[in-house]
Amino acid sequence: MYNWSRNTNKCGVWPDIYRPILGITSIRGWQVCMETIRVLVANEPRSYREAFSFAFRKLRPHISVVTIEPYELDGEVLRLRPDLVLCSELTETVRTCSPSWVLLYPHGDSRAVVSIAGSRTTTTDIQLGDLLSVIDQLQYLARP
């Protein structure tokens, strides 16, 4: 199964040659996601990322949730090409290679920054429901 949505130059390009072969002529067609979205959970501290991962797996069983240590973040973003990254530190790799991300409680702050396809909002009171909404939005955007 292929995910056509991962198409940034820095992180890996689906060559244009494939588009006519597969009969995909529109950008929307190019962005068809034929598999579930993938969420990479890499925020600190450990209890937080495990609690979020648990909740996501139970409440959104159709998505793929990968929990990693923060030090593995850049490597796993490049390897897995997640649709969404949860992190406590925004690296250049996440900023440029992940279509959407949530910066959660950096340095223990109460603040969170949500970026969905480049559109950013900052909040000081993010709820679990907000995180699930982000996932739902991405699932909606990825629909055929």
Binding site: E44, P45, R46, S47, Y48, E50, A51, F52, F54, A55, K58, L59, L104, Y105, G108, S110, A112, D125, I126, Q127, L128, G129, D130, L131
Partner: protein, 218 residues
Amino acid sequence: MIRVLLVEDHNSFRQSMAFMFEQEPDFEVAAQAGSLTEARGALEGVDVAVIDLGLPDGDGVELVRDLRAVNPGGKVLILTSSTKRHHFARAVEAGVAGVLNKAVSIEEIVDAVRRIHGGELLLSQLEVIEMLRLAAGQRERDRTAQQALGELTPREWEVLRLLAEGLNDNEIAGRLAIRSDTARGYMSSILNRLGVESRLQALLFAVKHGAIKIEAAE
């Protein structure tokens, strides 16, 4: 059924923890709160309160006494992201049943609540004694520091506040309409009273002991 109160101002984490506890057959989340004020209204019937140490309106250990007043058998597990031992020590001194750093796994937190409810202490007797000694030592250091700060004259306080604004001796002198060597004299006296060796140390001392707050830059 173990009735749990969760007190944590990071809402998304608290809600995720609540969801996790609710999946366990032997737990019921009695209430959730994002502050001391909210928590005080939710202590009734709580077996174990899982409380963040740093809450927006105060120290989580303050709830220990409040919980005991409502439910003498109620126990407290403190969660903290701090690695400072004197924070742990203060919590132990307040009578909490356990202190965990948030770097532990979520399973450890759930397990700790079960153990605490079952009457176990998460710390050994030796660890408790060590924590109590640490807390006593910290209290003594705080008392000495407050005493030193109390000995500063009103003028010396003015100089210290202007130092916190980033002014040097000449600028302080200008602001207070005094001579530069007079300002330096005040500074020397401040360093002496606080038992520090530099302006930076004096500032850190005052900030650490709550005498001065450094405002965030705009």
